[in-house]
């Protein structure tokens, strides 16, 4: 590749703005500017040097800071669109048709459009994910493009810089030492700058004081962290890395844990506690009668014996007992159980009496477990009740057949066949809440309703996310990088003592000129240096903006 040879003899890669050795401006633009562009210290960045192959073009596109900013803004706008109406995963309907209806009913035609454009699930949209991906590529490419040349030029810094470099810095000074011994000036500068925690290097009559160089790496460190973070998010797609299941467990029930083979969880009790405070003004405004204080599931986690058949619940070994509360999940071997939902007073048992309608004589009680009904309930040798049909969530008849909406016993209905001494062949009866149909005419016996037993049900989610450690590493690296780049800054002071004893100096910092100038004030005062000038303020004044 073409090289740029500076007047000083140093070979610079093409695209270099400021000679890596002496700092002389190499490009026309740099020569004409009053204050040189110190981004990347004038080093050649790949995207500015090659533009031939398609790879170069793609590279150049993604390395551009402008493109990066544009991608940030586009992502920002896309993300904000998703907050106009609630996203699909926050509304409690499941089918596509119900979702479409929800958005139209609740938000009118705008809601319908929102749904049809796919904005109701924008964060899972392919184009949104591509946008995030492009931003990630931009971060990687721009960091490599700029980070490596910057690192090289910072590593190979010469102490002595050419006049044309010094004079084009923002803060400069030139002139004789005010009073005292000029021979001592450089020593005094060195002494003072060292006391200000600068690293000082000398080369003949030149001096370079530098502090906080590592802060220049902050942005690259935080970009690394971001990339690790985003990679960790992608890991979710790897099978087995991520488990996200939800389950309902009734009190007293032992259930296999979805996504966690060989484990069972038992809900011993679900507890709901309310605050007993007087209603506050905010509660009035929001129409909340009582504020929940605690949602808790007393749970037992069991492991199946090694040689057990899947699903078998004998010989379970208790591995953990825990009160799962909001903010306090049960944690076991990378899996966590969260308290997410509950349902109070679900019907669990219905009690009946097999009764003679006329005499009122009861033959015996029948108690039906609504989640696990038996086929047959034997009362005595001559009397039994067969369960011909069970509809846990009875919703009416269709073609004469009873229908159930869900498998949850919200509105249980039964078809009983009652065998009694008088009717050894049995009488059939359809029984639902407040409804009895006797298909074969008048029965002699009925299942008299006695009462119900209820229990609570706990909604838990089971999570495993093996990407969390990597996410944490990415997040930590990002925070460290951001802190380094924000709370420290790179300050440099170049000084050259000319042959007649006068001093020429130039200062640069990537941020915090205020701090740089404070240091300059201190060293100027101490070593009696000529007064420095901020050339950017000079420009501003010339442009007619009076900086009083």
């Amino acid at each position: 590749m073409e090289k740029l040879i500076c007047v000083c003899g140093h070979e610079n890669p093409a695209g270099t703005k400021l000679c890596g050795k002496c700092g002389r401006p190499l490009t026309e633009e740099a020569k004409e500017s009053k204050i040189v562009d110190m981004k990347y210290d004038g080093a050649a960045i790949r995207s500015k040097t090659r533009n031939k192959s398609i790879v170069d073009k793609v590279w150049n596109f993604f390395s551009s800071v402008k493109v990066g900013i544009a991608l940030i803004i586009i992502n920002l706008v896309a993300a904000s669109i998703g907050t106009i109406f609630p996203q699909e995963f926050y509304i409690s309907v499941s089918t596509e048709a119900e979702k479409a209806a929800y958005y139209e009913d609740t938000y009118g035609s705008i809601g319908k459009l929102y749904y049809e454009l796919g904005l109701s699930d924008v964060y899972n949209a392919w184009w949104f994910q591509i946008l995030v991906g492009m931003l990630a590529i931009s971060i990687i490419v721009a960091s490599i493009d700029r980070g490596i040349p910057l690192h090289r030029s910072l590593k190979n810094q010469r102490v002595k810089r050419h006049e044309s470099f010094m004079k084009r810095q923002r803060v400069v000074a030139e002139g004789p030492v005010a009073n005292g011994d000029p021979a001592q000036t450089l020593n005094m500068i060195e002494e003072k700058m060292k006391s200000l925690k600068y690293k000082v290097r000398r080369d003949g009559n030149a001096l370079l004081a530098e502090r906080g160089r590592f802060s220049r790496y902050g942005p690259y460190i935080n970009h690394c962290g971001l990339i690790i973070f985003l990679a960790a998010v992608m890991l979710r797609l790897v099978p087995g890395f991520y488990v996200d299941e939800s389950m309902w467990v009734r009190e007293g029930e032992v259930r296999a844990v979805p996504g966690m083979e060989g484990y069972f969880i038992e809900n011993e009790a679900f507890i709901l506690e309310l605050h007993d405070n007087e209603k506050t003004e905010n509660q009035e405004l929001q129409g909340v009668n009582a504020v929940a204080k605690n949602f808790q599931t007393n749970a037992k986690l069991y492991k199946q014996a090694e040689d057990a058949v899947p699903g078998q619940t004998d010989n379970l070994e208790l591995v953990k007992e825990y009160s799962i509360r909001v903010n306090h999940p049960l944690q076991y071997e990378g899996y966590s159980f969260y308290q997410m939902d509950f349902r109070m007073n679900e019907l669990s048992v219905m009690n009946f009496q097999l009764t003679n309608k006329e005499t009122g004589e009861a033959l015996g009680p029948v108690s039906i477990d609504l989640t696990n009904p038996q086929d047959e309930y034997i009362i005595n040798e001559q009397a039994k009740v067969e369960l011909l049909g069970y509809y846990p969530d009875f919703s009416g008849f269709e073609n004469g057949e009873p229908q159930t909406l869900t498998p949850t016993p919200n509105n249980p209905a039964f078809i009983f066949k009652m065998t009694t001494p008088e009717h050894p062949d049995g009488e059939v009866s359809f029984v639902a809440i407040q409804q009895t149909i006797e298909p074969n005419g008048d029965n002699e016996y009925k299942m008299a309703f006695q009462g119900v037993e209820t229990r609570n049900m706990s909604g838990l989610t089971v999570h495993k996310d093996s990407s969390i450690p990597l996410l944490a590493v990415g997040g930590a690296i990002f925070m460290i990088g951001v802190a380094i780049g924000s709370y420290w800054n790179h300050r440099r002071l170049w000084v050259e003592q000319l042959e007649d004893g006068t001093i020429r100096l130039a200062a640069h910092t990537n941020k915090n000129w205020f701090g740089m100038k404070k240091d300059l004030d201190a060293v100027s005062e101490y070593a009696k240096l000529p007064k420095y000038l901020d050339q950017s303020e000079e420009i501003e004044e010339k442009e007619g903006d009076s900086a009083l």
Binding site: S80, D244, V326, M479
Partner: protein, 395 residues
């Protein structure tokens, strides 16, 4: 005196101190004559910062006593959070003041905090019991860190506003002049909201309505301002109160819209009165006050505030938020509106920092960006909490 009353008194002292502080900062920047005025201004400035620090300490005393009283960090409802936000803005201002010693910043920062506290005071100040998801030490850590980050970022807007007050010429007809006036007009709207709430509360205005919500359920609602907009299918239940002029569809909360309407009306009336009396734009009135400030330095203060605030904000509003979300709900990110708007704020300031790399995005443009950033923060505070439904909704 009970602890909660004591706490309220501390807040009142802080409020008064900020008012006095504003006036003192006004004195500190007003030196036009050379005859020892600089010295006098310096004294005003010293007094101003002392009063501000005293106010801040009183504010802190409010915060701590309320914390002891309620048993949790007082950042759990709109009143508490917004009051704390005001406190952190003052804290951030004091921090930046001691770094750069620019008195003129106080002239903007204090009124901003006063407006924010005034706004907070319009919400019920009663302590609410905590729902289970908020019962965590992460409430303290996450909310306080996020609020601190936002407050430091807000100082960049304070510096930006000051920058533009000087840099935008009130005499020439430019877009900047229009938008600056718009920003100042917005401040009047906040005043309008406070006045509307106070006036109608003072009158004891109350009108009950029944209405039908989007799910077809019949509910009741109490308006504390004359109902300009009526809820969907409303019926006025209180005798002798104003019937709404317009009925809104169920998706719009007409009560909140009515509040917005009255804030606009009263804020605009106040604005017009000031304009009529002074016969000047607000910008024109403030412009001469800030001639002393150094634009280069202000630009740096703005940039520096973003640099200091950005990591704090990231830590509080994203990192701690994710840790807590993981612990409470089992997912560190759920695209809840508040989460998304925290991300948007973060992306915006990331764009700000990257734009500083390009030439030309310093000075005026940077100042405008800082103002937009603060607008996003306020949007996240006001609109996301009060209008958009989500896990962080307050009312």
């Amino acid at each position: 005196m009970s602890l909660i009353d004591l706490s309220g008194n501390f807040l009142f002292i802080a409020f008064i101190a900020y008012l006095v502080g504003t006036l003192l900062f006004g004195g500190a920047i007003k030196n036009t004559k050379p005859d020892g005025a600089a010295k006098r201004a310096d004294n005003w400035g010293k007094l101003a910062i002392i009063v501000t620090v005293v106010g801040f300490l009183a504010h802190l005393a409010y915060f701590i006593t309320r914390w002891i009283y309620t048993g949790h960090a007082p950042v759990s409802n709109m009143f508490e959070f917004t009051t704390a936000f005001g406190m952190f803005i003052i804290g951030a201002f004091i921090l930046i003041y001691y770094m750069y010693r620019i008195s003129a910043l106080g002239l903007i920062a204090l009124p901003v905090a006063i407006l924010i506290i005034g706004y907070a005071a319009m919400f019920p100040s009663e302590a609410d019991p905590l729902v289970p998801s908020l019962q965590s030490y992460w409430l303290t850590i996450h909310v306080i860190t996020a609020a601190m980050g936002q407050s430091i970022l807000a100082i960049s807007a304070v510096a930006g506003l000051l920058y533009l007050l000087k840099a935008v010429d009130p005499k020439s007809k430019t877009k900047s002049r229009f938008w600056m006036e718009a920003v100042l007009y917005f401040c009047f709207l906040v005043v309008g909201f406070i006045l509307a709430t106070v006036i109608f509360k003072g009158m004891g205005y109350e009108a009950n309505f029944s209405y039908v919500n989007a799910q077809g359920k019949e509910l009741e609602i109490t308006y504390n301002m004359p109902a300009v907009f009526g809820m969907n299918d409303y019926t006025l239940l209180t005798d002798g109160k104003m019937e709404p002029l317009v009925e809104m569809p169920p998706v719009i909360n007409a009560k909140k819209l009515t509040t917005v309407f009255w804030s606009f009306v009263i804020g605009s009336v106040v604005y017009l009165l000031v304009r009529l009396i002074s016969r000047k734009r607000i910008l024109e009135m403030l412009h001469p006050l800030v001639q002393k400030v150094n634009l280069n330095l202000l630009d740096e203060v703005g940039y520096r505030s973003v640099l200091i605030g950005f990591p704090v904000f990231t830590l509080g509003a994203l990192v701690f938020a994710m840790i807590w979300a993981q612990e409470a709900w089992g997912r560190y990110w759920g695209w809840d509106p508040k989460e998304v708007w925290a991300l948007i704020t973060w992306l915006f300031y990331a764009a700000y920092l990257h734009l500083r790399l390009s030439k030309g995005w310093e000075g005026k443009k940077s100042a405008w960006l800082a103002l937009i950033g603060f607008a996003i923060i306020l949007f996240n505070l006001i609109v996301v909490n009060l209008v958009i439904a989500g896990l962080h909704s307050y009312a």
